[in-house]
Subunit: 379 residues, 2 copies
DNA sequence: CCCACGATGTGAATCGTTTCAACCCGACGG
DNA sequence: CCGTCGGGTTGAAACGATTCACATCGTGGG
C-alpha cells in the first residue's frame, strides 16, 4: 500500500501589489549631491562623517572606542548613524584590521542531533567571547570537508572547529598547512599539534557492553561493524575489551551509514542471525532507533527479546517509545570547551597558549531498553 | 532513582611534544626581503605576482578569468600560487567587487530536524548556484533573531532566508529597511513585499483532523493551544475548520514550547482531562513524540487508547516505535526553492525579478499511530 | 607670560583584491 | 608600408573601514 505520494502539488500565485515600488524609490541618487547618502547605495562611514560634520576617523572612534570621543560629538555621530541607517562593512573592517570574528564549525552530520547539540554549545560560548559561529555540514564526505575548509580559509576565519571525516586527518593537515588555528572536536588529536575535545570512546564502548554482560547477555551484536570512522572503531574496541574473559561473544553487524535507515537495515539483518543475539550495542543512537523500529516491526519485544544500547544520548533516545539506554556524551560542553580553547589560542595572549587534549568521560544512562526482566534473561 | 550524574569527569592531559615548534618555524621573515612571501604572514596576490614575474592584474585574471591569459603565463602563475600556498582573501574580494557569495539562513530551531532538512535543501541548491549558506539559529528568541540579522547585514550577505520568530514581522521589516534581499521561509509573505516559501498550514491542520474524524474520533485535543507562532495558529484554525458540522469537539492543550519535553508535559495534562480525548493532533512532531512517550509511560496503547497525529513528518516520526501519522512538509524542497528565488532576485538579471509566494501543499502520511482498530473506535 | 599637557579631532596611509583604460606587438588586409 | 585588429599584459584607481602621527585648544604650573 502506498501511503503517500512523494510529489507535491505546488500552488504559486502572485498577489497584486507592485514589487517595484521600493526598487524605484531606492534608485540611486546623485551620489555626489548633498543628499547622496540618503538612501542610494548603502551609506558608508564617509557619508556619516559628512552628515555629522566630523572626520571619518572620529566616526570610527565613536564606533570602536567611544570613550575617546567628546560627549556632544558622540551623540551627533550616533544620530547621523541611525539617520542614515549606516551598517559597517565587515569585509572592510576585516581587511584592514586583519582579524575576523567568525569561527567555522564543520560537523560530520547535521542530521544527527548530537552534533546539533555540539553546535549549540559552541554558539553559546562563542557569543560569550564576542565571536560568531558559522556551521557547515560535511556529511562525512571528504570532498565537502575540503571544500568548506577552503571556504573558511578564504574567509580568514578566526579558527576552525573540526570533526574530521577521515581517520587520516587530511583536513587537519590542510588547516595546519594554511596556518589556520583549529580544534579537533569529538576526536583526540594524536600526532597532530592541536587542541582537541573528545570523549573516551573506548571507555564508552566498555560501559555499554559491561552493562549488557551484567544483564546476563551472552550473545551480543555490535551495530557499526568496521565503519571507517574513528569513533566507531574505538567504541567497538572498547566493547571487545569489556568482553574479555566473560565467555560471551560479540558479533559484528555491518552498517552502511550511521543514520536511522541504516539502523533499520542492520536490524533486519540481525533478526535473521542464527542464533539471534539477545542484545545489540549500536554505534550511535540513530542506529539504535532504527534497530528499535526493526524489532517492533518484527514483533519482538524490547528489552525482553532484544536489549538495545545506543550511543550519544540524544533527546530522541529518551523520547523513544521504549526509552533507550545510551552512552551519554556531554555534547554542549564539548562545543563550549572547543570554542574556549580556540578563543584562548587566538586571543590577545595567544603566546601563552599550549595545545591541550581535553577528554571527557562518557556516562551510561540506563533506561528501559535494557531493563533486566528476570533473573535469567531471555535467551 | 537517579539514573545518571549530570556532572562529567574531566581528564585533561598534555602530551610531551612542543607545541611551539610550528609557531617558531612560521615566525615572520623580513617581509621586504626576497623570501618575504615564503611563509611569513599569508602570501598576497602581490607576492604571487612577483614570484611569477607578472603583474597583479594578470594573477587576478588567472584566478577569475583564466581564458584571458596566455597558456604559458597561466601555468607559471598557477605554479606560483600553490608554491606560496596563496589563498585569496574573501574580504578584499568582496570589498572591491561589492558582492558576497554567502546567503544567511536564520532558522527558528535547529533542534527541530525539520529545519535541518530545510537547511540541507538550501545548502544543496546554494552549492549549485555557487553560493554558500551560513546557518544560524534564532531559537525563537527575538533578540537573537535581531542579532543575527545585524550580523548578516554587516557581512553584506547576498541575501537572507528567514523563518521569522514573531508574527509581527519585525525581522523582515529590519531587512527591508536595510535593503537586504530576503525570502521568508515557512511563512507566507502577506503585506510584505518579498518572496516566500511556505506550506498551507491551514490545509495541513484540516487534513489531520479530517483524518481523525473519519477514524471515528469525536473528542480531539490540539496540542499547541494558543502558541504565538503563526504556523501553530494556522494549523489550529485548519483543525477547527475541519471540525465544522461534525459534532466533534476540539480541546486546546496549551504548550510552553515546541519540543519533546513540552510534548511530554502536555501529554501528562491530557491524561488528566475528563473526559479524556481519544485523539490528539500535535502542532509538530516533537510534541507528538513527547506525547507518545507520555502515553506509554501511563500505560496507554497507541492508537487503541489514544490516536496521535504529528506535523512535519521528520525522520524520527517514522522511526518511532509506534510510527507516527504526520502531516508532511517538503522541507528540503522549501529550502531549495527559497535559495533559487533569492538567487534569481539577486542574480544578473535581478531587474526581471517579481516577488513570488510559493505555497506547497501539505500531505498526510498515515502510519500506525492512527490506525483504525475497530468499527467503533475506543471511547 | 610661556610651555607642557591632556583631551579631542583630523586626514592620509593602508589592507588585498578587482576592474578598466591603456599599452605592446605581431599579423594581416589594403 | 601603414593602419588596424585583437590577444596578452600592465598599472593604478577604487572599495570602506582602521590606525596613527599630528594638529588644535583650553588650562594650569612654573
Amino acid at each position: 500500500m502506498k501511503l503517500f505520494n512523494p510529489d507535491f502539488n505546488l500552488v504559486d500565485f502572485n498577489p497584486g501589489f507592485n514589487p517595484d515600488f521600493d526598487r524605484d524609490f531606492n534608485r540611486d541618487f546623485n551620489r555626489d549631491g548633498v543628499t547622496a547618502s540618503d538612501m542610494g547605495g548603502a551609506a558608508g562611514i564617509k557619508d556619516v562623517a559628512r552628515a555629522a560634520g566630523v572626520s571619518v576617523g572620529t566616526v570610527s572612534n565613536v564606533i570602536n572606542r567611544p570613550e575617546l570621543v567628546g560627549e556632544e560629538t558622540r551623540a551627533r555621530v550616533r544620530a547621523a548613524i541611525d539617520l542614515l541607517g549606516y551598517v559597517r562593512s565587515e569585509s572592510a573592517r576585516q581587511l584592514r584590521s586583519g582579524s575576523s570574528r567568525i569561527i567555522g564549525l564543520l560537523v560530520l552530520d547535521l542530521g544527527n542531533p548530537f552534533f546539533v547539540s555540539v553546535a549549540r554549545g559552541a554558539e553559546s560560548a562563542a557569543r560569550a567571547e564576542g565571536l560568531r559561529v558559522m556551521v557547515c555540514n560535511s556529511a562525512q564526505r571528504l570532498a565537502d570537508e575540503a571544500d568548506y575548509l577552503a571556504l573558511f580559509a578564504e574567509q580568514r576565519v578566526r579558527g576552525v572547529l573540526l570533526t574530521p571525516a577521515d581517520t587520516a586527518g587530511s583536513g587537519a593537515a590542510a588547516l595546519r598547512r594554511g596556518g589556520v588555528p583549529f580544534v579537533l572536536v569529538d576526536r583526540l588529536a594524536q600526532g597532530v599539534e592541536a587542541c582537541s575535545v573528545s570523549v573516551d570512546d573506548v571507555r564508552g564502548g566498555s560501559l555499554a557492553v559491561a552493562h549488557l554482560l551484567t544483564g546476563g547477555h551472552r550473545r551480543i551484536a555490535f551495530a557499526g561493524g568496521h565503519h571507517p570512522l574513528q569513533q566507531v572503531a574505538d567504541r567497538r574496541s572498547g566493547a571487545r575489551a569489556a568482553l574479555a574473559g566473560s565467555g560471551a561473544e560479540l558479533a559484528d553487524l555491518e552498517v552502511d551509514g550511521l543514520d536511522v535507515a541504516a539502523g533499520r537495515d542492520a536490524g533486519a539483518r540481525l533478526l535473521g542471525m542464527q542464533p539471534r543475539p539477545t542484545a545489540v550495542f549500536c554505534a550511535n543512537d540513530l542506529l539504535a532507533l532504527g534497530m528499535l523500529q526493526a524489532a517492533f516491526a518484527a514483533g519482538l519485544r524490547v528489552p525482553e527479546d532484544l536489549a538495545i544500547v545506543g550511543y550519544d544520548d540524544i533527546e530522541f533516545a529518551a523520547a523513544a517509545a521504549v526509552p533507550l539506554t545510551s552512552v551519554r556524551q556531554p555534547a554542549e560542553a564539548m562545543g563550549r570547551t572547543a570554542v574556549e580553547m580556540l578563543a584562548q589560542e587566538t586571543g590577545p595572549n595567544a603566546a601563552a597558549h599550549r595545545h591541550r587534549q581535553v577528554v571527557f568521560e562518557p556516562e551510561l544512562v540506563v533506561r528501559r531498553s535494557t531493563l533486566r526482566v528476570s533473573a535469567t534473561p531471555a535467551q
